[in-house]
């Protein structure tokens, strides 16, 4: 069972300016697709369209061969999107933050198992010992790591990551890069924008905008 996200003749116009036109994309299992382009070339807009957030586009999107609008729920249930902002509430502890995300993914936040999973996920991003600290007291990089813990916590096939390396230290960058490759190798799929130079890999593919 492999996944496949396709776009046909995708075009996006924002306030009478074409960000991109006639874009054909095939994104499949086992790929890391990096979207490249200068600032303002529509990278974030493309990611938002491909993650189903922006409906203001022309062209067609297909998820596993079916038109996106018919299978939106199934698509969203297999998508993990991390945007510019980490989506972490500073008033909550990392554990509470993850519990909410876990509940959104359809798992109960109360039972013991799920708390165990949250703790594991936090440990995997090097935040053991910070579980109960209010996220507001963590550094920007640590907050980003809490968000990245979701990659492990809620297993989704398609990852859409907008600048995931922001504010992460060198050690964390290497770990994240490895995680992306592992995910692709396991049959997942990663769609990413970054200013960071990714290590060459046979799984890595580039799409240039602008």
């Amino acid at each position: 069972m492999s996944l496949c996200l396709q776009a046909r003749q995708l075009a996006c116009e924002r306030d009478d300016r074409w960000l991109f036109q006639g874009l054909d994309l095939d994104i499949r299992s086992g790929e890391i697709v990096r979207i490249e382009g200068p600032n303002g070339s529509g990278k974030t807009s493309l990611l938002k369209i491909l993650s189903g957030q922006l409906s203001d586009y022309q062209g067609e999107l297909f998820w596993n061969g079916a038109a996106m609008k018919d299978v939106r729920e199934h698509f969203l249930a297999n998508l993990l999107y991390l945007g510019h902002a980490p989506g972490i509430k500073t008033g909550l502890s990392p554990l509470e933050n993850l519990a909410w995300y876990q509940a959104l993914s359809g798992t109960s936040s109360n039972d013991k198992d799920s708390e165990e999973q949250c703790l594991d996920a936090l440990e995997s991003v090097g935040l053991a010992g910070f579980e109960e600290v209010p996220a507001g007291q963590l550094s920007a990089g640590q907050q980003r790591r809490v968000a990245l813990a979701r990659l492990k916590l809620t297993p989704r096939a398609l990852w859409v990551l907008d600048e995931p390396f922001t504010a992460i230290d060198r050690h964390g960058v290497a770990a994240l890069e490895k995680q992306l490759v592992d995910h692709a190798k396991a049959g997942g799929c990663v769609l990413v924008t970054t200013h960071h130079a990714l290590t060459a890999s046979p799984l890595l593919r580039h799409i240039a905008l602008g």
Binding site: R14, D15, D16, D56
Partner: protein, 250 residues
């Protein structure tokens, strides 16, 4: 049906067809308003109770009708824009809002002025005037919201949603204000509701109402055309159109 809607939605097509329609509405508006005004001001008999101040009805009522109709038209345009993504509908909605606010203001002003000889005061919390005042605030809200966004696409959507929310609320507001008014001012004299107006009184009123509607359509067509040129200035057909006009001028 679908093809027709999309044809109607094409700015180029609309620009062409509106050029043909526009003169008819201007002529109708001018004829109806001029005749209606002369008739209403000079020939219609004075009211037995209110005397000649009654002649304010010929601007108050058409303006009040239009004020409400324009809001509904704006909400319908917003719906068409949101559902079928037809940009012309949004352009029309954008140019309707200021005219709607102006008509609401006319209805309020004429109502207030009419109140002086009738009630002896410039302002009365009469049900009709109060509803009009709230409608003016709704218009100002839509205009302000549209102006607040930097992205025009978002502004269009937000204004459409607000117009639709407003149009659902207008009947509720009217009903509750009427209810509130009758509770506080039982059996009082309202400006325009009267039994059996003679023909020579209401016929000019009908003409004025129709004239105001024609004026609204004509002005909306005209301003939508300008809005099309403004938003599509970079499109091929607009540039060709302008080129032709430049050539002709030579």
């Amino acid at each position: 049906m679908w093809a027709f809607i999309h044809k109607l939605g094409s700015p180029k097509w609309f620009y062409g067809i509106s050029a043909k329609l526009q003169p008819w509405f201007w002529v109708a508006a001018a004829l109806l308003i001029v005749t209606g005004s002369l008739w209403g001001l000079a020939f219609a008999p004075a009211d037995y109770q209110q005397g000649n101040s009654f002649r304010i009805i010929y601007v108050h009522v058409p303006a009040a009708f239009l004020a409400q109709s324009i809001f509904i038209a704006m909400a319908v345009s917003g719906l068409v824009f949101m559902v079928w993504k037809i940009k012309v509908a949004d352009m029309a909605a954008a140019v309707m809002a200021p005219l709607g606010a102006a008509m609401t203001f006319v209805a309020l002003f004429s109502g207030a002025v009419w109140g002086v000889p009738t009630w002896g005061t410039w302002w009365m919390w009469d049900a009709r005037l109060t509803s009009m005042l709230i409608l003016l605030f709704l218009y100002l809200g839509v205009i302000a919201l549209r102006g607040a966004f930097t992205s025009r696409d978002s502004a269009s959507r937000a204004a459409s949603v607000l117009a639709m929310v407003g149009v659902i609320n207008i009947p509720i507001i009217k009903y509750s204000v009427n209810w509130w008014y009758t509770l506080h001012q039982p059996a009082s004299f309202t400006l325009t509701s009267r039994p059996a107006m003679p023909t020579e009184m209401w016929l000019p009123l009908v003409m004025m109402v129709l004239g105001f509607y024609s004026f609204f359509i004509a002005l909306t067509l005209m301003r939508t055309r300008s809005e099309i040129l403004r938003r599509e200035a970079n499109k091929r057909w607009v540039q060709d159109l302008v080129k032709d006009q430049v050539e002709e001028a030579r």
